[in-house]
């Protein structure tokens, strides 16, 4: 059976067993996921998974329940339907049930690449080989992964949708004497991942990070590379642009208020990269502007949170949204407009399909400063006006202290450098920070954005964060590596 046939069969079973008034929606997803992992410069874990999942939600006699299963033969589907109906009948009434998604046009998935969908383990291993060879004797660690998802949605209101998507990602570090350098890239096609270029970039940054000094904690001007900016986007998404948290007054977001610097425009844009064109409730997914030139415009909603606030769904229905809230998961921080002379000089040209690692091998040479710390001319341009500050590659283990003010603590990772008079002058040991993310990006706080964005993979395929490097007036480092 195709995914759509399975979804239709589930909806039909509900109708047959619970009557014509029962409301039901079914999502069926087949997935082929593979991940080749390396450490100490060899492949130590190499996994692949073929799976299919059916997720069903029913609303019967005013009560709602959901269930899922991995068995899609007749017996498995029937068991799923029967147990979900039984659960619904035992549940308390659900007066806030928002109803099913009506028939709505769904655009086709833009991102699908046959060769990525059916990539062989040798193809992933070859990219790992290239990465390891390119680090020039340093230790290498990371992964190369491919994913292929094909799915269908159907509900008893007569709405249906189809989607399929592919994604490839590579994330690796090079290590020397306890100092690490990182390079990562998320692409629509495996062919766009250049293991050698990523390895060379990681190695250059690792060498530039060797023998770091410890600096005192305090407020420093910073240039955050795209990997670090991705962490800001994730936390803003989860705690800020989350429709449920917004409805509960737990979010900082105030639509209509100028809460960010005017250089900040954030768009959740799932169809810009690999994502299904519909959400878990069958609502169309489309670009949603969260922040427009510094002014908060929207938060994400599924049907339930959208109904509660009278805004409707923004296409963010997802597993767990009832409990944790609907969140944007494909946010782009729009880059500064590219100048004519900068064209072609970018290194993370995700929007143009370029490699994220070109700076290490192409136009990324930097005339001054610590060799290799600056990965590309885009970052070099942002650093040029920094009199004294820090260049930060990546953040790690960030956790919220207060969700409403979005005060976060975490650490730097994979390279920090002191910047003096526009160039990195020495590597610095990792810091702990405690910072309010909206405040750090607030009006007047953003001193510059890069002109080229790089798409960063998330831990889950289909989720990604895209940003250029960002220069911020201050970041609150509250401790050094020694405590």
């Amino acid at each position: 059976m195709t995914e759509l046939e399975i979804a239709g069969r589930v909806v039909e079973l509900i109708r047959r067993l619970a009557g014509p008034d029962a409301q039901a929606e079914a999502v069926v997803t087949r997935a082929d996921l593979a991940l080749t992992r390396f450490a100490n410069s060899f492949i130590h874990q190499n996994v692949a998974e073929s799976g299919v999942g059916v997720r069903l939600r029913v609303h019967v006699d005013g009560r709602t329940a959901a269930g899922s299963g991995s068995l899609v033969d007749d017996d498995g589907l029937r068991a799923l339907v029967e147990r979900t109906l039984a659960a619904a009948r035992l549940c308390p009434p659900d007066p806030a049930w928002p109803g099913l998604t009506p028939p709505s046009p769904i655009v086709a998935s833009a991102v699908f690449d046959e060769s990525t969908a059916f990539a062989e383990p040798d193809e992933r291993a070859a990219r790992v080989r290239d990465f390891v060879d390119a680090v020039g004797g340093l230790e290498a660690a990371g992964y190369c992964r491919t994913s292929y998802r094909s799915g269908a949605f159907a509900n008893s209101a007569g709405h249906s949708a189809l989607g399929r998507t592919t994604e490839a990602a590579m994330d690796g570090i090079a290590r020397i004497g306890g100092s690490d350098g990182v390079a990562r890239h998320c692409a629509d096609r495996l062919a766009d991942l250049d293991g050698a270029a990523l390895g060379a970039r990681a190695a250059a940054k690792a060498r530039a990070a060797a023998d770091p000094v410890e600096l005192p904690p305090g407020r420093y001007e910073v240039v955050l590379e795209p990997a670090a900016v991705a962490d800001l986007l994730q936390n803003l998404s989860w705690y800020g642009f989350n429709g449920k948290r917004y409805a509960e007054r737990q979010s900082f977001a105030e639509p209509g208020a100028e809460q960010f610097d005017r250089s900040v425009t954030l768009v959740d844009d799932p169809l810009h990269g690999s994502a299904f064109p519909y959400d878990l409730e069958g609502s169309p997914r489309r670009a949603l502007t969260l922040v427009d030139a510094g002014t908060t415009r929207a938060v994400a909603h599924d049907r339930r949170s959208g109904a509660e606030l009278g805004t409707g769904s923004t296409g963010h229905g997802m597993i767990g949204a009832s409990t944790f809230g609907p969140t944007p998961r494909n946010i782009r921080l729009l880059a500064a407009p590219a100048s004519a002379d900068a064209a072609g000089g970018g290194v993370g040209a995700a929007a143009t399909g370029g490699t994220a690692a070109g700076g290490a091998t192409g136009g990324g040479s930097v005339a001054t400063g610590v060799t290799g710390a600056v990965a590309d001319p885009d970052t070099a341009e942002l650093l040029a006006d920094v009199q004294r500050g820090l260049l930060v590659s990546d953040f790690w283990y960030t956790r919220v202290l207060d969700p409403k003010s979005l005060v976060i603590t975490g650490l730097t990772r994979n390279g920090v450098w002191l910047v003096e008079d526009g160039v990195p002058t020495r590597p610095v040991r990792d810091f702990r920070f405690t910072e309010s993310y909206p405040r750090a990006l607030g009006p007047g706080a953003v001193l510059g954005l890069g002109r080229w964005s790089v798409r960063q993979p998330d831990r889950i395929d289909g989720v990604w964060w895209e940003a250029p490097p960002v220069r911020l007036a201050a970041w609150n480092f509250t401790g050094g590596a020694s405590g």
């Binding site: 450490a39 874990q45 998974e49 799923l80 308390p92 690796g172 409990t323 202290l401 603590t409 702990r432």
Partner: protein, 478 residues
Amino acid sequence: MTEFDTASAAVQAALDAGARYADVRVMHRRYESMSARNGDIEELTQDESVGLGVRALVGSSWGFHAVPELSDAAARDAGRRAARIAAASARVPGPPVDLVPSEPTVASWSSGCAVDPLGVPLSGKGDLLVQATGTIREHGADLAEGLYQIWDTAKWFVSSEGHRIDQRIRECGGGISATSIGDGETQRRSYPSYRGQYGTTGWELVTSLDLAAHAARIAEESRELLTAPECPAGETDLILGGEQLALQIHESVGHAIELDRILGWEAAFAGTSWLDLGQLGTLRYGSELMNVTIDPTIPGALGSFGYDDEGSPAVRRDAVREGRWVGVLAGRDSAAVAGLDYGGSVRADGWARLPMVRMTNVGLEPGPHTLDEIIAATDDGVLMDVNRSWSIDDKRLNFQFGCEIGWEVRNGRRGRMLRNPTYTGIGPLFWRSMDMLSAEIVPWGTPNCGKGQPGQTGHTGHPAAPARFRNVRVGVRA
């Protein structure tokens, strides 16, 4: 075909395709969760997942393939694919792989369960959450939340060395929380811990928590926190409640003693460890009060099992004895690399995930004191409990934790409530400063330990009790 037959077919297919070792986990897992908000049921989810995962060793390279089918054909195909993936791994080969011996075992094991949690009527479970969250709202909190979760996992393990082990592990737990929202910040109180308490037990665990009896208290405390004074900044004596100390153990001991991290196998993601194998047996990890065990045999604790996911039997071992580091969490291949003679701590999050080194139950043995005695012996300090935030570096050294609630301790007495308590430190320095430890051990369960790529969620247990630490930096803020 039985599950053992299916697993055996997959093992044989992997061997036929060139593997020199193969093992298979067939798993059937049922999961149920219910959440409530403000006196109403918010979500009920029931999942059922069945499949098998094959691990094959070809030469010195591993491969793994998982499928959601238990037919003979699907099992054999998965075995062949696992071997093919292993062969591809050899494009970037590592050192020779060996496995420490594991006695081929034919066995069956089940966790203890007095009341089948999936057998308890949904209406009763829902009433429990509705009543508790309703009470929280009535007592002034802006947001009342309740949650329970149940896992019922049957698994069958077969290896090419002759293991045939089936296990049934039932886990459940739950908790409630109250959130009050003020101007620009929120305050939360939870019971019995941030996400609740969990164990390898039946529904009797949830019943014993008596959630409703604590609903009013946490609601009132969450409101009171909004106007409580901020935790002062500076160095002071810190008393941690058992729930918070459990997470401290998890993050700064449990992960640090994972052998895969020590060997660098997690360097790019979860990170490494500050520990050096050359110091195993001699390194001073903490004060002499610090005795930490790795013990998957504790009845009812969340990290308990009969056999790990590569067939090694559950065995209690020392990790830290009188402050000295003496043991690690290991698997058969990592132990061989390290020159150790034991594995026993390898687990997989479902049939579709590769088994890897994970915590089991990693926790403290009881100390000689009580919490009351610790408070009475403290002239000037802060008592903190129930985790609110946690962050630690990739070597498991530099940590910062936030708790839901704190209290001043002055002249041996608990004083005013403090809001936004945080503390920070460096793992071994912190543990060496522990000078009082209570005997009031609780095996706290953590059902959300993330590790691995693709991601896996582990269930771990952490026996812990209140303890005092000297001269700790507290009150870090933005």
